[in-house]
């Protein structure tokens, strides 16, 4: 059985224009051999969920530095679930207080990476958690 190519989407929901981190991650995923759909800043959760389905990605990485993650991250998970796409893994990163972790995990976010997380650790998490065989 041939290996599947891992496809990921990197997106920034909400009113947050700080995309340095998201761009670095996109580049890092590319170098890890993934196909990366980069969709940029200022997106609604609706746009993100629709794009994730159209692109048939394995994983959506959300980046948020504005503090709105409590609203925006769970909304993406919920929209994917409604569209029968809950098999798409959602992870998040950015300025996220530890106090919010439980709430986000319960909402269906599978992993959270905050400042200090290494690029390698994020790639490794994806490799370990996304199956490349059908």
């Amino acid at each position: 059985m041939p290996d599947r190519k891992i496809r990921v989407m990197v997106a920034k929901p909400g009113l947050d224009g700080h995309d340095r981190g998201a761009r670095i991650l996109a580049r890092c995923f590319r170098d890890a051999g993934f196909e990366v759909i980069y969709t940029g800043c200022h997106q609604t959760p609706e746009q993100i969920a629709a794009a994730a389905i159209q692109e048939d990605v394995d994983l959506v990485g959300l980046s948020c530095l504005s503090g709105a993650h409590r609203l925006l991250f769970p909304r993406v998970v919920e929209l994917l679930r409604k569209k029968d796409a809950s098999d798409i893994t959602v992870i998040g990163g950015g300025i996220i207080p530890e106090a919010d972790f439980t709430m986000l995990y319960e909402a269906g976010i599978k992993a959270i990476f905050t400042p200090g997380a290494t690029l390698d650790s994020i790639v490794e998490w994806i490799r370990n958690n996304i199956k490349t065989h059908d």
Binding site: M1, P2, D3, R4, K5, R7, A26, R27, F29, R30, D31, A32, G33, F34, E35, V36, I37, Y38, T39, G40, Q43, T44, E46, Q47, A50, A51, I53, Q54, E55, D56, K83, D84, A85, D134
Partner: protein, 328 residues
């Protein structure tokens, strides 16, 4: 079958998954394509090509908007390059088309080239079929940013838009063969910049110098100015959409559509043969280690690649090899 039915009903999730299975060459994908084929062939396929940064995605976005005004459903395949070093890719064309993300009449799918050299990806032809089966009225195929020779798009599209930008100067001369020959419509994008008029003049004189036959299509040149004047931009991209529609009407009336469809069919046979004969043979030789062994022998000049190919064709083709086919 369930998947086929879903795709024909326009289900995005099923369609996108099949495109992915085709890209990943999963064994069940090709039989599904076989079943889908009878539902294809009704869409108008527009190719859009040009150098990196010329504005292909931005113009694609504008074309989508025009087509949606006419209530046409639209499929978009946007191709970006795969890294030859890591196999990874950044697929960023969607960024220019975000306003259509939630429109259910628009399905945008990014493809990575995965080593294909003609400006598209190997799965692009298959992906077009999937979108056709979904019943999309129009399918826009955006190539990677190209140089002069990556013109695979002509084997897939009915109408090809070549996007050019001013400031590339004398290159127009060297571009005579290849890219300039495939245009059905020229778009001079960023036409507010210096050199746009000159580019228009040069293109026009190039078209004038080509032999003209009565009733033949002459590629129109559409000037498109910058985005900071949205009204101008909308007017000019509407003109672009109009010219493409005129070209399609011309194809239908002149009988050229038939020829282009036939050209596409030739390409489909070619692609299918490759997938059906070449790939399994190569996979087989790779798995058994024979490919490596033969490469070693050729490297040491113990054997030549031509005899190797002949011997392999004899072994895998029942008729007794390629030479035998020649004789028949």
């Amino acid at each position: 079958m369930e998947t086929i039915k879903k795709i024909c009903e326009g289900n995005v999730r099923a369609a996108s998954r099949l495109i992915r299975d085709l890209e990943d060459k999963l064994p069940h994908a090709r039989p599904r394509l076989r079943q889908l084929f009878k539902h294809t062939g009704k869409s108008f396929i527009i190719g859009i090509t040009g150098s990196p940064g010329a504005g292909k995605s931005t113009l694609t976005d504008a074309l989508i908007a025009e087509l949606r005004k006419l209530s046409k459903t639209v499929g978009v395949l946007a191709v970006d390059p795969t890294s030859p070093f890591t196999g990874g890719a950044i697929l960023g064309d969607r960024v220019r088309m975000l306003r259509h993300a939630e429109d259910e009449g628009v399905f945008i799918r990014s493809l990575a080239t995965r080593g294909a050299l003609g400006g598209l990806s190997q799965a692009a032809g298959d992906a077009i079929h999937v979108m056709e089966a979904m019943g999309k009225d129009v399918i826009i195929v955006e190539t990677v940013g190209i140089g002069q020779q990556e013109i695979d798009i002509i084997n897939h599209a009915h109408s090809v838009i070549v996007v050019m930008v001013p400031g590339m100067g004398d290159e127009i001369q060297s571009m005579k063969a290849g890219i300039l020959e495939i245009a059905d419509v020229f778009a001079i994008n960023k036409a507010d910049r210096a050199g746009a008029k000159q580019l228009h003049t040069e293109l026009a004189s190039l078209l004038n110098s080509a032999p003209q036959s009565a009733g033949a299509w002459r590629p129109p040149i559409v000037m498109i100015e910058n985005l900071y004047e949205p009204l101008t931009f909308v007017e000019q991209t509407a003109e672009l959409a109009q010219k493409v529609a005129e070209h399609y009407a011309y194809l239908q009336e002149s009988g050229q559509l038939d020829k282009r469809t036939e050209r596409r069919a030739m390409m489909q046979i070619n692609d299918a043969l490759r997938a059906c004969i070449m790939e399994p043979v190569i996979d087989n030789l790779t798995a058994s280690g024979e490919l490596q062994y033969l490469a070693e022998k050729i490297k040491n000049r113990e054997i030549d690649p031509y005899s190797v190919a002949e011997e392999i064709s004899k072994r895998f083709l029942k008729s007794g090899g390629i030479n035998d086919i020649d004789k028949k």
